[in-house]
């Protein structure tokens, strides 16, 4: 890359013209600063703002301006004296070649979504610059702009144009979209009569038939049933085969590993690692000092959840109920989720997914406690703990996804991907699966299993014995 940044791309020097042809996206020192305490600073009523404004006009002007002007933030980004500054993104630079499929990974709050919002022009950067060569389509959320009162047909046109297609382009793709979504029979029915699955399928179908040079995707693979997800992944593979550029944000590591040719790991708004997906994903899981054993949501309004249940906390506990970052391989370990039920009369099914460092699901477990399974939950607070027996897991880091759905019809309440983690400490000696064996012991799990061995002193004698019997 040249490092030459001029105002107009068409006036660029020789070497930039070369890169124009094979670079789809360049980001150069992108930063995004948010000022915290926005809520306290902005007056919600005009009257209060007006009174304050009369009291100290200049100060108030500065205060409003400070929400979106950051001249006071030091150019080198030193914010030691500014506690109210949040760098959602800090000096992020990368080049993406035409045809690359790049996965952006990192924990919640690492800056992935902010980066995508800047690249899709939803919000401008505070500093730095990016260039995008080619038509962009973004799927930050499937079904943006869908209107319940409009028919499927009308929504296809509306959604298509919102995503950047022209009317003619939607027309030419219309039959394909309808077929892909599988809602032919209901195409002239208002979307409010659709099941939620149908609406999602239709929305994804529109998005999947965009033909941009650059496709920006945020977690769309999280929607729909397994069958539909398979369809989506194969659609993404098609896009890749056609040589289009894809920027993909996901928590689904196997999908990143399978679909992407490159991965970029973000942490704290900065690029930590950029390289082949296998290595970057490995680094993400091994360097995870950041996955804490406990997460709590103090504000019920912002706690993850929907109309029925809200997740309030999730943590790893030892036998005595203490939060445990690390457990001995021989000991039982519990995963406790505390959730509030805010609407009564639903059957709830809490469950967990346990992932290992490679991003594979080690197992998933549903609450099968006969006291609660198929029971309707009343309003209140619930703490559900799943106990994993000692001598079952293998050593290493494990990540936990807590989920609650309501049953019949199944509806997701919350699903916080790999929100907490814990470490299983290897151990040897009596009472372990390893025993005195100090060598390698592979496997996704390491159960201490019962072995039986029968012994006889003479194999020939036994055969004679059997012959006599028959």
């Amino acid at each position: 890359m040249c490092g030459v940044t001029t105002e107009r791309p068409e006036t660029k020097g020789e070497c930039d013209r070369m890169s124009n042809e094979d670079l789809a996206v360049t980001a150069d020192g992108l930063s995004k600063v948010y000022r915290l305490g926005l809520k306290e600073q902005v007056h919600d009523t005009f009257a209060r703002a007006a009174i304050d404004f009369i009291r100290s006009p200049l100060q108030n002007y500065r205060k409003y301006r400070s929400l979106y002007q950051f001249d006071d933030v030091a150019a080198d980004g030193s914010t030691a004296d500014q506690a109210d500054i949040l760098w959602a993104l800090r000096d992020v630079s990368f080049d993406i070649k035409r045809g690359e499929v790049v996965g952006f990974i990192g924990r919640n709050g690492a800056g992935k979504s902010t980066l995508l919002k800047i690249l899709t022009r939803i919000t401008p950067p505070t500093r730095g610059r990016a260039e995008i060569r080619g038509r962009v389509a973004s799927l930050l959320e499937v079904g943006t702009g869908f209107h319940r009162e409009l028919s499927g047909r009308e929504n296809i046109y509306l959604n298509g144009t919102i995503l950047g297609m022209t009317k003619r382009e939607v027309e030419s793709k219309f039959d394909e979209i309808v077929e892909f979504s599988g809602v032919e029979r209901f195409i002239d029915t208002p979307v409010k009569r659709y099941s939620s699955g149908m609406a999602v399928r239709l929305a994804f179908a529109v998005a999947a038939h965009l033909e941009p040079e650059i496709l920006i995707i945020d977690e769309v693979l999280a929607v729909g049933d397994a069958e539909f997800q398979k369809k989506c992944i194969s659609k993404m593979q098609d896009v890749r085969k056609q040589g289009r550029t894809v920027l993909f944000v996901s928590h689904n590591m196997p999908a990143v590993a399978m679909l992407c040719s490159r991965a970029i790991l973000l942490n704290g708004g900065q690029v930590v690692m950029d390289g082949p997906p296998g290595e970057v994903i490995g680094h993400y899981f091994s360097s995870d000092g950041s996955a804490s054993a406990e997460r709590e949501w103090l504000d019920p309004e912002t706690a993850p959840g929907r109309d029925v249940a809200r997740l309030r906390s999730v943590r790893v506990v030892d036998r005595d109920g203490r939060t445990a970052r690390s457990v001995d391989i021989r000991e039982d370990v519990g995963i406790e989720m505390v959730f509030d039920v805010i609407r009564p009369g639903y059957k709830l099914l809490p469950h967990y997914y346990i992932y290992n460092e490679e991003g594979s699901v080690v197992f998933a477990s549903l609450n099968q406690d006969p006291n609660w399974y198929e029971k309707t939950y009343s309003v209140g607070r619930y703490a559900s703990t799943m106990w994993i027996p000692g001598n079952y897991l293998t050593s290493g880091t494990l990540l936990v996804t807590p989920t609650v759905i309501t049953r019949s019809p199944d509806s997701l309440q919350f699903d916080e991907p790999q929100i907490i983690g814990f470490n299983v400490r290897d151990n040897m000696g009596p009472g372990t699966a390893r025993g005195e064996w100090g060598g390698e012991l592979p496997g996704a799990v390491r159960p201490l299993l019962k072995w039986t061995t029968e012994y006889s002193s003479e194999t020939t004698e036994r055969k004679d014995f059997e012959r006599q019997q028959s």
Binding site: T45, A49, Y68, I122, P125, E131, E154, T161, I162, E213
Partner: protein
């Protein structure tokens, strides 16, 4: 190959008409959505576009025409108010919807980019559909009172554009303000109720003493009302009432567009 340069915004920026044109199909479908959704699941459907002003006209005719006996320069009060209420209905509805456009579409605002100016401009066009339907009512009333068209009618398109300019200016100013101050929504409903009395909708502009006429006609709504009356009912066009308001209206729309362009970059972060 289109190249998009993303960089921190600086200072005042011009309106990107080229970009707006690229999104014209979206503009069209958003207008279509507004129109279709408005009367979805209603029995009377588009008849509401006639019924709504008709009820107001009857009410005002009874109160101001019959009971208060407001002078109307010899024009029957029913005819007099119909000619004004129909553009007024358009302006007040477009104003209210346009100023709330960013707040009510905030879900879309944070998810996908298209020129933000499309949000406040969409209601100007979708309400024009209602306006066109209510012209049928106007036509019926004109025929009933046997009003013969004059050459003034040729000026009507100018006044229709002028009529659209006012909610455009107010919508551009207030939609970005409403993002920061939710008060705008509540203030709008009573401001609109007050605004009707600041313009010659229910009374004749000739009631205003000559020394206050210039001040009075700085209100752009005055010019729209006078313009509609003159072009539909004939007579001399009272330019002295129309021109000052037109200047103010154009200024409002221009400054509104500038302010909007400046604010649109922080809308997503502040909303």
């Amino acid at each position: 190959m289109p190249v998009v340069v993303i960089k921190p915004p600086t200072g005042w920026e011009a309106i990107d008409f080229k970009e707006l044109r690229q999104y014209r199909d979206l503009f069209y479908f958003l207008v279509l959505r507004d129109v279709k959704v408005l009367y979805a699941q209603s029995v009377l459907g588009f008849s509401w576009a006639i019924l709504n002003p008709a009820v107001q006209i009857i009410l005002f005719t009874v109160i101001f025409g019959k009971i208060a006996n407001v002078p109307t320069d010899g024009i029957p009060y029913f005819l007099f108010s119909t000619v004004a209420i129909i553009p007024w209905t358009y302006m007040s509805e477009a104003m209210a919807q346009s100023s709330q456009s960013l707040v009510s579409e905030q879900g879309m605002l944070g998810k996908v980019y298209f020129p933000r100016m499309i949000y406040p401009l969409t209601p100007l066009l979708s309400k024009l559909v209602d306006f066109s339907i209510s012209l049928l009512l106007l036509l019926g009333v004109l025929i009933y009172y046997k009003v013969t068209p004059t050459w003034n009618l040729l000026l009507l398109p100018i006044f229709v554009v002028y009529m659209m300019l006012i909610p455009a200016g107010i919508g551009l100013w207030l939609s970005s303000l409403a993002v920061r101050f939710r008060d705008v929504k509540f203030a709008m409903s009573f401001i609109i109720r007050l605004l009707i009395y600041t313009a010659p909708v229910l009374y004749s502009a000739s009631l205003i003493p000559p020394e206050y006429r210039l001040l009075y006609s700085l209100n752009p709504i005055v010019g729209v009302m006078e313009g509609f009356r003159a072009s539909l009912l004939g007579g001399a066009v009272p330019w002295e009432f129309i021109v000052p308001g037109m200047v103010v209206g154009v200024l409002m729309a221009l400054t509104g567009a500038m302010y909007f362009r400046r604010m649109e970059r922080v809308i997503v972060d502040v909303i």
